[in-house]
Symmetry: none
Subunit: 236 residues, 4 copies
DNA sequence: CAATAACCGAGACGGTACGTCTTGTCTTGCG
DNA sequence: CGCAAGACAAGACGTACCGTCTCGGTTATTG
């Protein structure tokens, strides 16, 4: 069950490519304007960078990991740029060179992790694939560390319009579009609106339970939810 | 349509009392340990305050209003204690004397405003009362300034456990308990669990749409939601 | 041999007064616009400060002393505001509240120390008083720690016009005016121009030797200089 | 009136030679250890440098000029290596390769300019030559841009021992030795000590007036000074 | 009808983190 | 190899708020 579709929107464009066609499409589709990091995807392109001093991959990873660790340990408010720099063994300026804020760093982490945690099968086709995906989503949102990042960013998006914009146009919208398409094909629905309605009917209780009720998203709850919402779908 | 049940948990205990038994019960039930504001609830109690000057009502209101205004103008992150103090014409220490943090101030504002905005009729009895309440809730959450406060606090609760604790045990839990009871009686449901399920089925999409999708909670959406969720209830 | 005339231009106006008439005159004459510290000399004056929170004398002294120590230990370039704050056990903002720059701090130190080191007798009257003063000046400039401060500020005044302005209009001009007057009366000269010429003839070689030649200002050199410049004066 | 004696201690050894014997002697005498720039003294040697690219003369001049311009425009404190590099269109590393600090760059500028501005006639012989030189010196110190560089370096030498060392052993000592010799021969003095005394008697007031009093070194002042100090010399 | 005790404004204080700037070192690729 | 370009670790800059702490001045009982 490999991830599909959700592009990997890493900051550093000059890394060993994988599945070139995917990356190319994804980066071409949205050149990460939010972070502004992805500069000139093709390194061999004629109009590329002129010379010298590429971005340090080691520093980039150290920052992302340190931010993740510190978020878990001290929470969002206790997460500081200086703290990340110190924990990553990196100069503060190196962080500011590539990210605008701690939100930006967490966003990069989210994209990185969500890509692998929220994948669909290559060619999803049955309602069972939808059920599996929703279970994966519930686990991600409710239990995994990377889900905590999404939760924190969703929270912060309520407080800061720039975070909201970044999170939606850079992640949520795309995730939703992909999920809608898969749901539609798996359930054999007539149009995207119907698929979106089904998706919302399933995800809304999950988000509600996680963000508002603060109760665990256990498998039983998810199954009951799916039974209720999916089984009645064919009837429609 | 007057508000009922949701207690007014203002900071200042020395205001013209209303419906003493309600206040007493509410405050006794949870003496607002989070804010620690409600001091010496019974002003008529024998061994009450001894001497000296009382809390300045003018200062209290100036702070609450200033916080509201600044939240709207500069957002949660741009809201500072010093800014509130300056805007309210109040000394910083006066704020710290009565509130622990800006979250605390916003919480007081929320309680104040939600009390009047999210009321139920004195004796709700019909499904129409539920529909009306849900419409009121959607308007509150999606459009009113005070709803922005709830949204901000919900967001911040994702980032800070203390805020989450305050918001839930001081506001959301109680709100929910009250709403569940009313829904149960209005719809003639057998037990609270069923009522809670109906309430969640209605509120989850609202929260989801407001917090995650960031789309307007227009009346048509709410009506469609109510049609779908309420009409099938009697069938159960 | 007590100091006279050179006003004590300390930052803090609210200290135990000494020789009130002197302080009053001095502060009235030039309210230290350079540092902007001296605010409302008389604490009992009607238009004085309103209430609460006076400047901390302990912090002020700690900063001045720390700056002095660190200048000696690390030199002017190695002297940082952060270093001073750390060494003084004081918050950085406390320094910025009262001083504009490290130059400002050193200037306060200079005024403080020069006041006591470069005094004249109460009523100087003989050429011997001039000789003694010049010896004192040479010792101050060439050997004493406070003289190092003057030397550093003179050096920095070559690099920064604001330092030059502060040093001259806040210290050197006044020092010179006082010295000219004393020289004139001690040597019985006809006018200030002549006295200034004598003073310059004596001080120029001292400054030259200290700042340009970087050779010690030993007593023998000073005596030879005085013999040469003072003995021929009556002949004029 | 060509310059004599004061060696040209430029950074770049590969420039069109002039008066080869002089340069050779000067550079041999003190291989500029302070800057460490003078590499491979003999520029005319056939087998000098073997291979690889040579130092870029264009870059060297661009740096020196940019430093001069920026010093005039922004002052010493506003002069930064990065600023010089940007203004000169040169990489930062190119500067660090050849100079240790901005002081070093200014020093090279000083040597370059002072060489032409502070020259003596080929064979100075009369007191008039001394008078002319002192006038030239006063103009240089007080008015010319290059004099501002000397003034800045003298100022910085008060703050930084390394600058003091560089300025004295690399420039001032030599200048003084040359001037003493010329004064001695022009005035027919018996020994160098006497010549040095005369020179100091003339230069000290100039430095004092420029560095301490910050007053203009106008021709009238210099003439009066020379009248006073030189006319009495023959009497000795 | 003072005494007195808490509130209030004002704001200094020790701190922490911010985001910017410059330093001096380094690495990369062009010429 | 010099050079332009520029990333990097380091660390000081000056600012903004934090939460705590005096100050005097005011005010309202209460002894």
């Amino acid at each position: 069950m490999a991830r599909t579709d959700l592009p990997d929107r890493r900051a550093n464009p000059v890394r060993p490519a994988r599945l070139a066609h995917e990356d190319a499409r994804a980066i071409a589709a949205q050149p990460s304007p939010a972070t502004g990091n992805a500069r000139s995807a093709g390194s061999t392109a004629v109009g590329g960078r002129s010379a010298g001093s590429r971005r340090s991959e080691a520093a980039r990873l150290a920052v992302l990991n340190a931010a993740d660790d510190l978020l878990v340990e001290y929470g969002f408010e206790g997460l500081t740029i200086e703290g990340i720099a110190a924990a990553a063994g990196v100069a503060k300026q190196t962080i500011y060179r590539w990210w605008k804020s701690k939100v930006d760093i967490l966003f990069d982490n989210l994209v990185l992790d969500a890509g692998s945690a929220l994948g669909w099968p290559e060619h999803p086709s049955s309602p069972a694939d939808v059920r599996a995906y929703v279970h994966r989503f519930a686990t991600f949102l409710g239990e995994e560390p990377a889900g905590r990042v999404l939760q924190a960013l969703l929270g912060h998006a309520q407080l800061d319009p720039r975070t909201a914009e970044l999170l939606h146009s850079g992640f949520l919208d795309e995730l939703r579009a992909r999920d809608v398409a898969h749901v539609r094909s798996c359930l054999g629905l007539a149009d995207d609106d119907r698929a979106a309605a089904v998706l919302d009917a399933v995800l809304a209780p999950l988000y509600h339970r996680a963000l508002v009720l603060r109760r665990p998203l256990d498998a039983a709850f998810v199954d009951a939810l799916l039974d209720q919402q999916l089984d009645q779908q064919p009837a429609r």
